[in-house]
């Protein structure tokens, strides 16, 4: 039987509670409402202050009052100091408008303890559309609320922790970047000072051999300087473009030698190597180019001193190749095993796991270097 659509007047409910057990028992629907574990009440908006006219046992059990303590009272006695006034407002508006409302509200038991009430109130109208009653059900959702609160608190705490950690990391990164710039600045300034010291010293020296030796030293330092200048000019300080470096180096060495009759021939593919390889590669290229400049174009029978110095760079597979060639007088394959320049080149090649070979280019010399390049295999150019 549909109690809402019942022929009996809705007043029957009013009676039900005052009814004595017998009549209630005769109505299975009323009996169900009385016995259900779901807390339910009915209020009568037609009476002053919308009092409770029916309350089931579950309701009384939930709030800890006796039936005679609640009957005829407005529900507001369930509110307390921590009940959210805006929730109360929403209920008030729904009751005034005769609409339904579903809300979680903090309610108080008789003993003063609180519980979260998932309250649902809906109006009951008669056939003429007149408001008869409000039907309200209550569900204790304190547990759900508590875990929701805990999740929210956990989330807040977690977000706060992440934020703090991010700030820490950002600060650490910034400190590291500042430090890197500072160190970079000092390294560059110190390299400049070393060059300056050598140049100043060289000015005071008359002996040609000693001057030449200081010049070689200056060239080596300046090769390192060029590496550092290039390394920190780029955005990524962990990568180094050897081709760009070689171009700078050859141009610089040729201009410094003042030998306009020697022409550079550059065939350079961009080759990116890890920063830690930059210095040995640069030093090696510097030795080979200065050797060609110094030795390849002197002692020709016809007395000419002109020619071409070539640098080729490419990376056909996971290796990269550097070739330094000249079309000068060529060199005796036995030469220079004990000389410092030659030993330096060979040691650097060993450090880099590079194969190095001097070939007779007839005319001139072709030095071919081939070395593994890990940047390719790692595949990260970022």
């Amino acid at each position: 039987m549909d109690w809402k659509g019942s022929k009996e007047s809705a007043d029957a409910w009013h009676m039900t509670d005052n009814l004595h057990a017998e009549q209630g028992k005769g109505d299975p629907f009323a009996a169900a409402i009385r016995a259900t574990r779901m807390s339910m009440i009915i209020t009568d908006p037609r009476q002053p202050d919308n009092p409770i006219v029916f309350a089931n046992d579950a309701f009384l059990k939930l709030i800890g009052y006796e039936r005679d303590e609640v009957m005829g009272r407005n529900c507001r006695f369930l509110q307390g100091p921590n009940t959210d006034p805006s929730s109360v407002d929403r209920i008030r508006v729904a009751v005034e408008d005769g609409t339904d409302v579903s809300i979680d509200i903090l309610n108080y038991r008789k003993d003063g303890s609180t519980f979260w009430n998932a309250l649902y109130i809906s109006p009951v109208f008669n056939d003429k559309g007149e408001l008869q009653f409000f039907f309200a059900s209550q569900l204790n959702v304190s547990d759900r609320k508590r875990s929701a609160d805990r999740i929210a608190a956990d989330k807040d705490r977690f977000e706060k922790a992440v934020k703090e950690r991010t700030a820490e990391l950002e600060a650490a990164l910034e400190a590291k970047t500042t430090l890197l710039h500072e160190v970079d600045h000092r390294v560059k300034n110190n390299l400049q000072m070393i060059s300056s010291l050598i140049i100043m010293q060289r000015r005071t020296i008359k002996d040609e051999a000693i001057r030449a030796s200081l010049t070689t030293m200056l060239e080596r330092i300046e090769a390192l300087s060029t590496v550092h200048r290039r390394l920190y000019q780029s955005k990524d300080v962990s990568r180094f473009d050897v081709a760009d470096f070689a171009k700078d180096l050859v141009t610089d060495l040729l201009a410094a030698s003042g030998r306009a009759e020697i022409e550079p021939a550059l065939e350079l593919e961009p080759i990116i190597i890890p920063a830690e390889k930059a210095t040995p590669v640069a030093l090696m290229v510097n030795e080979l180019v200065t050797n060609a400049l110094k030795h390849a174009f002197k002692g020709r029978p016809d007395g000419t001193t002109g020619g071409r110095i070539g640098i080729k760079m490419n990376q056909p597979d996971s290796h990269f190749n550097i070739e330094v060639s000249d079309n000068g007088v060529g060199m005796d394959s036995a030469t220079g095993d004990a000389s410092f320049g030659m030993r330096l080149i060979k040691s650097l090649a060993r450090q880099l796991h590079a194969d190095i070979e001097w070939r007779d280019a007839a005319p001139g010399t072709r030095v071919v270097i081939s070395m593994p390049n890990e940047t390719r295999q790692k595949g990260s150019f970022s």
Binding site: D184, K188, Q192, M193, S195, I199, A255
Partner: protein, 148 residues
């Protein structure tokens, strides 16, 4: 021969200033002053005439080289060229400077830069190629292109 240049050096590191002075003089130009701080540099810029001021960014009174460049730029008396190991400190608009020689420069790099600058000042546009360690400010690069 084109007329030699008068150079003002703004550099807090004595060794570098000393060496720069020697190189400038070896190249046939003259050094008209050496300042180690921004305040010294500004006073000097007011009292001496220079064609070029080589200005380090880090001076004895802090990273004030950009200030110096702006000051000299406002007077419009000399071309400013930054000379720094910290080119990232230079603002995008170059604070009125025409370019930057990045440290560490090579001896030849500096000599070539001097030659290039002399051509820029005495009979633009320059005929020699721009040396590797020398970067032009975008504005000055435009000026050179339109002079060509």
């Amino acid at each position: 021969m084109t007329a030699p240049l008068k150079v003002l050096i703004v550099e807090d590191e004595a060794l570098l200033a000393m060496e720069l002075e020697s190189l400038v003089e070896e190249a046939g130009h003259s050094v008209v002053g050496w300042a180690t701080s921004a305040s010294e540099a500004k006073t000097m810029a007011d009292s001496v005439e220079a064609d070029i001021a080589f200005v380090d960014i880090h001076l004895s009174d802090g990273p004030s080289g950009v200030d110096v460049a702006e000051y000299i730029g406002r007077k419009n008396s000399s071309m400013v060229v930054f000379m720094t190991a910290n080119p990232k400190r230079i603002p995008d608009h170059f604070a009125g400077a025409v370019g930057v020689i990045a440290k560490p420069y090579t001896m030849n790099g500096l000599m070539s830069s001097l030659r290039y600058l002399q051509e820029c000042i005495r009979r633009p546009p320059p005929v020699s190629t721009r040396p590797a360690g020398f970067t032009l400010s975008p504005l000055f690069e435009e000026t050179l292109v339109s002079a060509a």
